[in-house]
């Protein structure tokens, strides 16, 4: 399967995430859309990793572990995303305790 399909799928997922962040008003849903963006990037990295592996295999130039660092990066993204989730949900819970809502339209105190 050519790389293009993966590329389009990943970009579509990423765009859905971006549109979600820009249009939704619920903090949790915005957060989910951000996670969707990160996972689109994960998919893209894995696809590119496979692509570089195939390219290296085709040219027969000896490269040590072609395409492996893309997959390594995915694990780092997962770990960072998990850390972000724990902090982010804590912030959202803290906000919910104070205003009993997670609607970001309430967040306009700093404008005045």
């Amino acid at each position: 399967m050519p790389i293009n399909y993966y590329l389009f799928l990943a970009i579509a997922l990423f765009s859905i995430g971006v549109v979600g962040v820009l249009t939704r008003r619920n903090a949790i849903i915005i957060f989910m859309c951000i996670e969707l963006m990160l996972n689109a990037v994960n998919l893209l990295l894995v696809a590119f990793s496979k692509m570089h592996y195939n390219q290296a295999a085709a040219t027969a130039i000896p490269v040590a572990n072609p395409g492996i660092d893309g997959q390594l990066f995915v694990f780092f993204i997962m770990v960072a995303a998990a850390a972000e989730v724990s902090v982010g949900l804590a912030i959202i819970v803290m906000l919910y305790r104070n205003i009993h809502s997670v609607d970001i339209n309430f967040l306009n105190r700093l404008k005045h």
């Binding site: 590329l7 990943a10 990423f14 995430g17 971006v18 962040v21 903090a27 915005i30 957060f31 951000i34 963006m37 990160l38 689109a40 990037v41 893209l44 990295l45 590119f48 990793s49 692509m51 570089h52 390219q55 072609p66 395409g67 660092d69 893309g70 390594l72 990066f73 780092f76 993204i77 960072a80 850390a83 972000e84 902090v87 982010g88 804590a90 912030i91 959202i92 803290m94 906000l95 104070n98 205003i99 970001i104 967040l107 105190r109 700093l110 404008k111």
Partner: protein
């Protein structure tokens, strides 16, 4: 490189210290001692003297520039702790935890200034950002702090998403994450590579709050507890700029013609928005937030003009801007009224504090004999070599900035205090502030003190 590990270890130590040490002053002293050790380790590395060797597999490279940047960051951190460390008690009871988070951020900053692989850049930015989200929201009962934390968190992780997509495209084009120039003709002009350049440019602009990606900055800086705003606006921002310059100079120098016009546009927009909005602010804290955007415009000139002048200018800028802003914020923490009126008549009550504030304001405005002047001079001189009109815009905007910095001086010296609330500073505070101010002046007279470190 040793400093990175030691600072992470110090963070863990401080986190655990609250279990055993009940007196806050001891924890504070421990943090200051730790910073002194970090500084010594960092200085020792200039001569290649290492505590322990480590194989970094080419992922991190601490060249002279990164080491000088780290030294400046550590020195600013030291003065920050000295001046506003005790003010952290006002935020909440978790003094040791705040200090621990600050040391973790410090470890992230070392990663960011010394990265050689985009993996480290990403990890460094995350290690910096996540503790900052927590610190922004550390005033848990305060709705403004909550709101700032949520905004910072959502927009920060959004920009991380952009950064990651950029890195993924970068990987697609090159097959590795190394931040080096690729002369491979299939890479240089490939559309993946060009998309990567633009996405990384936007994401980094987000992180250093360059207009038009600055909209989160005033709200977050205003809502966060003042002590932590001070850290965010100075040490963190400056180190991220070092990463910005390093990324675009080392990695994307062949795509120069693509991103340079964008950066020029960002410089102009940032200078205009930052300076013109700062003029109309009533709150000094918010004014400083916009002023930090305006100063980011000047620092962005170092990304635009990739040459020795602007890189040296960025170092001077880092030192003088960090110290001056930390100084003003340190005073602001102790004032009840954060508007300009809160500073009325300060010169009569606290002459030393007021005199130091004058020096900080002059330095931020770029008046000769202060570090800020030379820093701006370096930047504008570098810009002159590329685009004269950009230098002219910068000079005009520097003149505009004089207006709002001088409002602070005017309030302190020429306005009478309506309600005479006495302001209590800790005993040693004015002296610490004066020393900081003296360093800002000395930077303006002997810039080679810092720049010399680059070469000898």
């Amino acid at each position: 490189m040793n400093a990175l590990f030691v600072s992470a270890i110090l963070g863990v130590l401080l986190m655990l210290s609250s279990l055993f040490i009940k007196d806050r002053n001891y924890i504070h002293a421990l943090a200051l001692a730790g910073l002194a050790v970090l500084f010594a380790i960092n200085l020792a590395e200039f001569d290649g003297w290492l505590l322990f060797e480590m194989d970094l597999s080419g992922m991190l490279r601490f060249d002279r520039y990164a080491l000088v940047m780290n030294a400046i960051g550590l020195a600013s951190f030291f003065f920050y702790l000295l001046l506003s460390g005790s003010a952290m008690e006002k935020v909440g009871p978790h003094h040791a935890d705040y200090l621990a988070l600050l040391f973790f951020i410090c470890a992230g900053l070392f990663m960011v200034t010394g990265f050689e692989s985009l993996l480290i850049l990403f990890l460094g930015i995350e290690v910096v950002s996540i503790p900052l989200y927590i610190l922004t929201g550390s005033d848990k009962r305060n709705l403004k702090s909550n709101e700032a934390a949520l905004k910072y968190f959502l927009l920060g992780s959004f920009s991380t998403g952009l950064l990651l997509l950029g890195i993924a495209f970068f990987y697609g084009a090159r097959g590795n994450f190394m931040a080096t120039v690729s002369v491979d003709p299939t890479v240089v002009g490939s559309s993946l590579q060009l998309a990567a350049v633009l996405l990384l440019l936007f994401a980094m602009s987000f992180k250093v709050s360059v207009a038009p990606f600055h909209f989160w900055t005033p709200d977050v800086y205003d809502g966060a507890p003042t002590v932590f705003t001070s850290f965010m606006a100075t040490i963190v921002k400056v180190a991220l700029f070092a990463a910005f310059v390093r990324l675009f100079e080392d990695t994307f120098s062949l795509q120069f013609s693509l991103w340079q016009p964008w950066v020029a546009g960002f410089v102009v927009v940032t200078l205009l928005i930052g300076n013109l909005t700062a003029v109309f602010q009533q709150s000094v804290k918010r004014m400083l937030a916009y002023s930090s955007i305006a100063q980011a415009g000047f620092m962005l000139l170092a990304v635009y003009t990739i040459n020795g002048d602007s890189k040296e200018g960025l170092l001077l800028y880092a030192a003088s801007y960090s110290l001056a802003t930390i100084g003003i914020f340190a005073v602001l923490v102790y004032l009840q009224d954060h508007t300009f009126e809160g500073f009325n008549g300060l010169a009569k009550k606290q002459p030393i504090v007021a005199a130091s504030l004058v020096i900080f304001s002059l330095s931020l405005a770029g008046i000769p004999l202060t570090g800020g002047f030379l820093a701006k001079l370096f930047m504008i001189k570098a810009a002159l070599a590329y685009q004269p009109w950009l230098a002219i815009v910068s000079v005009v905007m520097a003149v505009v900035s004089v207006f709002y910095y001088f409002r602070l001086i005017q309030a302190m010296y020429f306005r009478k205090d309506a309600q005479s609330i006495s302001i209590e500073f800790p005993k040693s505070f004015p002296i610490g502030l004066l020393v900081t101010a003296l360093i800002v002046v000395l930077l303006g007279i002997f810039p080679e003190a810092i720049l010399g470190l680059l070469y000898f």
